[in-house]
């Protein structure tokens, strides 16, 4: 019953978020700022994670290929497909749910408990749209770029791992990377990412916005934001994979 109530509240919130903005110019500058805080500032962590993720995937694949009948380029092929289809969009989105989600929930939650949101409302500003919409736009447009970076770096990480361990040759890996490539896979991954970005921002904003109490409750909201955006990402991933791949 409580969950149903929250889900209703969430969709009600979305309606306010997408209300017509009061001042386009202010929204525009806010969106640019948000691209910096939730997008550009995440490049570092995404890069580090992706390189190591790719390295481990390729090593795991190589170590599991005992059969002499399997060509070496399979390592490259598997590294590429698993990275593009699943690891980059989903795992990186989960990481971003942790980093960006907690950031958003605590920012909005703090504004809530210190009455800054009331101050916005009193001025006649639609606080939900003002605070959340720029974040949604920034994330939905920028996360796909992060994921593209992640895909590239993962594959690169796989390359370095294999080369340094001498498990495949340069040509074999590159051949595998290019084998049976379909552009559709990338579109599929980026579509998923855009959905995940939307989930991360709106779910985290939801928990931040409806924080009640004080600093301690802001901490709780931020934890809940991460937990629930992760759960929603996994559910959404399942649904989208069903819809888009079959």
């Amino acid at each position: 019953m409580n969950y149903i109530h929250s889900i209703g509240k969430y969709f009600n919130m979305l309606r306010s978020v997408f209300a017509r903005p009061e001042r386009l110019k202010i929204y525009y500058t806010r969106t640019l700022t948000e691209i910096e805080t939730i997008g550009l500032n995440s490049i570092g962590i995404v890069a580090i994670l992706s390189v190591f993720m790719g390295a481990v995937i390729s090593l795991q694949t190589a170590s599991n290929m005992d059969s002499p009948f399997l060509p070496k380029y399979t390592i490259g092929y598997i590294t590429r497909s698993s990275t593009i289809l699943e690891f980059s969009p989903t795992i990186i989105s989960l990481i971003l749910a942790g980093k960006v989600g907690s950031n958003i929930a605590s920012e909005i939650g703090t504004m809530k408990v210190t009455e800054q949101i009331d101050a916005l409302e009193i001025m006649g500003v639609n606080s939900l749209s003002f605070l959340v919409l720029p974040k949604v736009i920034a994330a939905v447009f920028f996360f796909p770029f992060l994921i593209i970076i992640s895909m590239g770096l993962s594959i690169l990480g796989g390359y370095f791992a294999l080369m340094s361990a001498n498990l495949a040759s340069h040509d074999e890996y590159i051949y595998g990377i290019r084998a049976f490539f379909e552009m559709g896979d990338i579109y599929y991954a980026l579509t998923k990412t855009a959905f995940f970005a939307f989930i991360i921002v709106t779910v985290s904003s939801f928990f931040g916005y409806f924080t009640k109490g004080g600093a301690l409750d802001v901490g709780k909201s931020s934890t809940q934001a991460v937990v629930w955006s992760s759960i929603c990402i996994l559910l959404m991933n399942f649904v989208l994979t069903q819809l888009l791949l079959f």
């Binding site: 202010i26 504004m111 009455e115 101050a119 001025m123």
Partner: protein, 254 residues
């Protein structure tokens, strides 16, 4: 002029406002006093619509606020300036940006006009030249004054101040009180001030309302509060021996 008619507000079992009615007049400083936790903040939040009342009506110049659509409410809110108990400054913005915020959001002023207005408002609260500080770099009293500057930036028709001088030293407190009084007369605003400061009560209270047990227990002017024999008021306002003596003195004067 704001009229409140029989509003009720409860949180679960806690009945904070009981059939509360009041008139707040234009061009006057309307003071609200009452014990901590008696519902003063809740009442102001109900008046401006940050909290919904359970029943009763709130009239702005005769128009019922409680039945208005969101759009109509927004129009009224643009004429409201509010100072929150905890200042509620935007902590990601500088002092200047805080005061400029409503201007940017709702007016078509040029950058220069906005800056002039900001400097004028900051000057009124004795904070000129502090434009580039962040709220976290300001003292509590400064934050209060910045919040007042922000509240008056748009020349509001209605001004709500929740404890404008708590946490201020006596002399700054008087500056703030006088500021509120002056702008109220100057812009012919309907001003509602919640206060614990008995100095303000005597200095600026054109109309004083004593909130007790969720009701409008007593209303009167500053002269009347000195003369009143109302037991609850006397227990509240003239709690200390010093205030009791003061009251006797003042009584003789008036």
């Amino acid at each position: 002029m704001i009229q409140i008619k029989n509003i009720n507000k409860s949180f679960g079992d806690l009945h904070v406002l009981k059939d509360f009615s009041a008139d707040f007049q234009r061009g006057k400083v309307n003071l609200i006093i009452g014990q901590s936790g008696s519902g003063k903040s809740v009442m102001t939040k109900c008046i401006v619509g940050l909290m919904e009342v359970d029943n009763g009506s709130i009239l702005y110049e005769g128009e019922d606020f409680s039945v208005m659509s969101n759009k109509e409410r927004k129009e009224i809110r643009k004429e409201i300036g509010m100072l929150f108990q905890g200042s509620a400054l935007f902590d990601s913005l500088t002092v200047e940006e805080n005061v400029m915020f409503p201007l940017k959001m709702f007016t078509n002023m040029s950058k220069k006009e906005m800056l002039d207005r900001v400097n004028f408002c900051l000057d009124r609260v004795n904070l000129s030249g502090r434009n580039k500080l962040f709220p976290s770099e300001c003292s509590g009293g400064m934050q209060k004054r910045i919040a007042i500057a922000r509240a008056i930036a748009m020349k509001p028709k209605y001004l709500f101040c929740d404890e404008p001088n708590s946490g201020l030293d006596p002399s700054t407190s008087i500056v703030v009180d006088n500021l509120i009084k002056e702008i109220t007369y100057e812009y012919d605003m309907t001003t509602i001030v919640i206060t614990h400061d008995m100095n303000s009560v005597i200095e600026i209270g054109d109309n004083i309302l004593f909130l007790y047990k969720g009701m409008n227990w007593w209303t009167g002017t500053k002269e009347e509060i000195i003369k009143t024999d109302n037991q609850e008021i006397n227990d509240f306002v003239y709690a200390s021996q010093f205030m009791k003596n003061l009251k006797e003195k003042l009584k003789q004067e008036f």
